[in-house]
C-alpha cells in the first residue's frame, strides 16, 4: 500500500462525480424537446450548431437534434412513432410529404401553434413561393426550414474553350451551345438524380405551363395531371435527343452527379442551390451559375422550391409546445435565417433575411447564392408557378420517372411515356382523394 493511493482514488472519484453533477443540474432546469431531422454531412453539423446556438441563447428550453436517416426514412420513422405514441415534438419533412402531413391529423399548424404560444412572427414577410407552397386556408402549416430551388451550374473552362462566355437564357440557345462545347472536344452535361424536379416541375412553373388541374392541386383533391398536353412532352424529347448525342449523361448509381460535375468532367449541371457547398469544396474547378433556362418566346416566371419544413406534432404537453414554439421563433428570426443561408446555401425564407444578407455584402462575395432568391421572387407567382400540391406526390413522381426512363431508353415515344405517366399518376391521386375526401 502506498500512501498516494487513497488520494488518487479521491481525485478519480471527484472527477467522475463532476460531469454527473453537471448533467443533473443541466437536466433539471430546461424543458427538453426532440427534433428529428434528415440532414447528413456538413449540413447535419450546421443543423446541430443551430440547435446549440438556440440552447445557449436561453435557459428555459433545450432542443435535442436526432438524425433519423434520409427524408424517406424520416417520414417512415415519424409514422411509426406516431402510431406507437412515441413521436418527437418536431420533425423535418420534405416538400413532397406536405399533403400526407397536412391531412394526417398528427400535426399542429405552425401558425396556430405560434399564436397560441404568443410568439410574434411576421408571416407576410416570407418569400412568396415558399409561403405559398406551405400555406393552407390562409395559415402557414409548417415552418420553412431548408428551402432550395434548382439553378444551372456550368464549367467555365469548357465554355471558354468553345468560345462561349456563359450559358444562353433559353433552352434552344443552350442546346446550340452544348453542341459547340462538344464540338470543341468538351464533355456533355450531367443530369442530377432528382431531374424530375428541375426538368419537369420547375420547367413548367418557369414557363407558366399548367401541370395539373385545380391550380396544380391547390384548390382541390380532385386535381388531374395535364402535363402530357404541354411542352413537357417536348422537354422529354429534348432530354432523349441530348442523351443520344452525348450532350446529357446520367450519373446512375455508384457515383453522384455532383461529384461528376465537381471533378470537372461536365459542361453544365442543373441542380439545387444547396449544391453550393460541394462547389466551394471542390478544388481547381472553375465554375459559375446562372438561372434556369426557359423556352424561347416565353416570359420566365418564378421557379418552385424543394427542401423541407419543420412540423410540430400533436400529443405533447403544453410545456413542450412552448419549447417547440420558442425554437421555431428562433428559426424564423432573420439573424438565424441569414446564418443558415450562409452556412448551407439554402435560400433565406424571409425578405428581411434576404435584405440583411444583402446589406452585409454577402452577395458581392458570393453572387451565385443570390440567383436562387432572385429566381424564386421573379414576378408575381401565377396559378402554374405557385407550387404543387398533390397527395401521394412521391408515388406519382416515381411513376413519372419510370415512364420518362422508358423514353430515355427508347422503349416509348415521349408522348406515349407522358400519357402513361399521367394515367398512372391520376390513378394514384384518386386513391389519395378517396382516402381523404372532405378533409382538404
Amino acid at each position: 500500500m502506498t500512501p498516494s493511493l487513497p488520494r488518487r482514488t479521491v481525485l478519480a472519484a471527484g472527477a467522475a462525480a463532476l460531469p454527473l453533477l453537471h448533467v443533473r443540474t443541466a437536466k433539471a432546469a430546461p424543458r427538453e424537446i426532440r427534433f428529428w431531422h434528415a440532414m447528413s454531412g456538413v449540413n447535419g453539423e450546421r443543423l446541430e450548431e443551430m440547435t446549440r446556438q438556440f440552447n445557449a441563447s436561453q435557459s428555459e428550453f433545450s432542443v435535442t437534434p436526432i438524425f433519423k436517416g434520409t427524408y424517406d426514412e424520416l417520414i417512415n420513422a415519424t409514422v411509426a412513432a406516431y402510431r406507437t405514441r412515441t413521436q418527437p415534438q418536431l420533425v423535418q419533412i420534405y416538400e413532397r410529404g406536405f399533403m400526407t402531413m397536412l391531412l394526417s391529423g398528427a400535426v399542429v399548424p405552425v401558425q396556430e401553434l405560434m399564436a397560441a404560444q404568443k410568439h410574434e412572427v411576421n408571416w407576410g414577410d416570407f418569400i412568396k413561393p415558399i409561403a405559398g407552397y406551405y400555406t393552407h386556408r390562409g395559415l402557414l402549416a409548417a415552418m420553412p426550414f431548408n428551402s432550395s430551388t434548382p439553378i444551372l451550374f456550368f464549367n467555365k473552362a469548357h465554355f471558354s474553350r468553345a468560345g462561349l462566355e456563359r450559358p444562353a437564357e433559353t433552352w434552344q440557345g443552350l442546346e446550340d451551345q452544348l453542341r459547340r462545347v462538344k464540338a470543341a472536344g468538351g464533355p456533355g452535361s450531367i443530369m442530377a438524380d432528382d431531374y424530375h424536379w428541375s426538368w419537369f416541375e420547375n420547367y413548367s412553373a418557369i414557363n407558366d405551363y399548367q401541370y395539373a388541374t385545380k391550380n396544380n392541386g391547390f384548390s382541390g383533391l380532385d386535381t388531374e395531371f395535364t402535363y402530357n398536353r404541354t411542352p413537357v412532352v417536348q422537354q422529354l424529347g429534348r432530354m432523349k435527343r441530348w442523351m443520344d448525342s452525348g450532350l446529357l449523361e446520367i450519373a446512375g448509381q455508384g457515383v453522384s452527379a455532383t461529384a461528376v460535375f465537381t471533378s470537372g468532367r461536365s459542361a453544365t449541371f442543373i441542380a439545387s442551390t444547396a449544391a453550393h457547398s460541394a462547389m466551394m469544396a471542390a478544388s481547381g474547378l472553375e465554375w459559375d451559375a446562372v438561372p434556369l433556362p426557359w423556352e424561347e418566346g416565353r416570359t420566365p416566371r418564378n421557379s418552385v422550391i424543394g427542401g423541407a419544413v419543420l412540423w410540430a406534432l400533436r400529443g405533447h404537453p403544453e410545456a413542450d409546445n412552448a419549447a417547440t414554439a420558442t425554437f421555431l421563433a428562433f428559426v424564423a428570426k432573420p439573424e438565424t435565417q441569414v446564418w443558415w443561408h450562409k452556412a448551407t446555401g439554402y435560400v433565406p425564407a424571409t425578405n428581411a433575411a434576404y435584405a440583411l444578407a444583402k446589406s452585409q455584402g454577402w452577395y458581392r462575395e458570393r453572387p451565385t447564392q443570390e440567383i436562387a432568391v432572385q429566381q424564386l421572387s421573379r414576378g408575381e407567382p401565377t396559378a402554374n408557378s405557385l407550387g404543387y400540391r398533390f397527395g401521394n406526390f412521391t408515388q406519382t413522381m416515381l411513376a413519372q420517372r419510370e415512364e420518362a426512363e422508358r423514353a430515355f431508353a427508347g422503349q416509348k415515344a415521349p408522348q406515349v411515356a407522358m400519357d402513361d405517366a399521367v394515367a398512372r399518376g391520376n390513378e394514384i391521386l384518386r386513391r389519395f382523394e378517396r382516402l381523404n375526401a372532405g378533409k382538404y
Binding site: N76, M243, G252, V260, L435
Partner: protein
C-alpha cells in the same frame, strides 16, 4: 463431419414438429442416429424452445398477421382513416401491368441467380479438389464476398460498372460493347444478377465442397476402374450422391433471390432504370416505405409469400421424392 451436416438437415426438420405436437407422454421408440437422442419429458424441451418461440411470435407471427390484415385495408400512413376494401388491393395488383412486369422480372432474376450461383459454385468446388498449392488462400478468396455487406457489394459493383467512371465499364466500352445500365434495363438486370450471384456464390461453394468431400472415394474409383470417364462418373455417381445438397441449395438460392437481394438492388440500381430491376421484394419496399401505400405493400407481401411457398412446395413435390437421403450413410 461434412457428411453428417448434409445428411441430418432434413432429419432435424422432421424431428422438430413431432416434438412440438406431442401431448401424450413420449413413448420410447427404437431409433437410430440423431433421432435416438432426445428428452424424456416435455417440460425441458418446451422451456428450451421458449426464447426462440417468443422471438418468433414477436418478430414474425405478430407482424405477419398484422401484415395480412393490412392487405385488406386502405389506410393513410398515420392510421386515422381506415377503410376495409376486401380483396381490392390484391385484384388491383393483379390487374396492374407494373406488378405483372415485376413478377416476370423476379422470375428471370431468381432463376438466373440460382443457376449462375449454383453452377459457378459447383465448378469452383470441383476445382478445390484439384488445387494443391495455396488451397487455403483459394478458399479464403472465395469466401470473402460472403463477409461483405450486401449494400457495400451493390455499391462497389455499381461503381465498377458505372458507364461514366467505372473501370469495368471502360473495359467493356473499349471492347466495343455499348454498356449502359443507366439507360438500358437489360444491362442493369445483368448487373444485379452478377452482383447477387457473386455475393451468394460462396454459400453454394461451402455446401458443395462439403458434399463432394463426402462422396466415398472408393465408389468413384470403382467406377473409374470399370471404365467410366470423368463426365460419366459425375453424372451417374457424384450427382446422385450429392442430390440432397443440390436440392437444399436450389431452395436456398430461390429464397435468396426472392427475398434477400433487396440491399444489393437498392445499392446497385434502385430498381431502375424504368423499374427494370424492380423485383417483387424491392417493389414491396418502394410502395410501403417510400410511397407509404401500406395496403398495396401488404397485399404484395402476401402475394410474395404465397408465391414463395408455392414454389417451395412444387420443388419438394417434383424433386425431393427423387432424392434418397440415405445414400451417404
Amino acid at each position: 463431419m461434412s457428411e453428417s451436416t448434409v445428411a441430418t438437415l432434413p432429419a432435424t426438420r422432421r424431428a422438430l414438429w413431432p416434438a412440438l405436437r406431442r401431448r401424450r407422454p413420449a413413448v420410447p421408440r427404437v431409433e437410430h442416429g440423431v433421432k435416438a437422442a432426445g428428452f424424456g419429458g416435455q417440460f425441458l424441451p418446451l422451456l428450451l424452445l421458449t426464447p426462440q418461440l417468443l422471438i418468433l411470435i414477436l418478430f414474425f407471427f405478430i407482424p405477419a398477421v398484422r401484415g395480412l390484415a393490412q392487405a385488406f385495408l386502405l389506410q393513410d400512413p398515420f392510421g386515422q382513416e381506415v377503410h376495409f376494401v376486401g380483396l381490392e388491393n390484391i385484384t388491383s395488383l393483379l390487374r396492374s401491368a407494373e406488378y405483372r412486369e415485376s413478377l416476370r422480372l423476379s422470375v428471370v432474376f431468381t432463376a438466373a441467380t440460382t443457376v449462375l450461383t449454383f453452377s459457378a459454385g459447383l465448378v469452383l468446388a470441383f476445382a478445390t479438389d484439384r488445387v494443391t498449392r495455396g488451397r487455403n488462400a483459394y478458399r479464403a478468396v472465395l469466401l470473402m464476398p460472403y463477409a461483405i455487406a450486401p449494400a457495400i457489394a451493390g455499391f462497389v459493383w455499381a461503381f465498377l460498372f458505372n458507364p461514366l467512371v467505372g473501370p469495368a465499364a471502360t473495359l467493356l466500352h473499349s471492347l466495343g460493347i455499348a454498356w449502359d445500365p443507366n439507360r438500358n434495363g437489360q444491362d442493369a438486370m445483368l448487373l444485379v444478377i452478377l452482383t447477387a450471384s457473386w455475393k451468394h456464390l460462396c454459400y453454394d461453394y461451402i455446401f458443395l465442397v462439403a458434399a463432394l468431400g463426402a462422396v466415398p472415394r472408393s465408389v468413384i474409383e470403382a467406377a473409374a476402374v470399370d471404365g467410366a470417364g470423368p463426365l460419366r462418373r459425375f453424372v451417374w455417381i457424384t450427382l446422385p450422391m450429392i442430390a440432397p445438397t443440390v436440392f437444399f441449395l436450389l431452395i436456398m438460392n430461390t429464397v435468396y433471390g426472392l427475398f434477400e437481394t433487396f440491399a444489393i438492388i437498392d445499392a446497385a440500381t434502385r430498381g431502375g432504370p424504368a423499374a427494370a430491376t424492380s423485383i417483387l421484394v424491392y417493389k414491396v419496399y418502394v410502395d410501403g416505405f417510400i410511397n407509404l401505400d401500406l395496403g398495396s405493400s401488404a397485399a404484395q407481401s402476401v402475394l410474395l409469400m404465397i408465391f414463395a411457398v408455392a414454389l417451395t412446395v412444387i420443388q419438394f413435390r417434383l424433386i425431393e421424392r427423387r432424392i434418397s437421403y440415405d445414400v451417404s450413410q
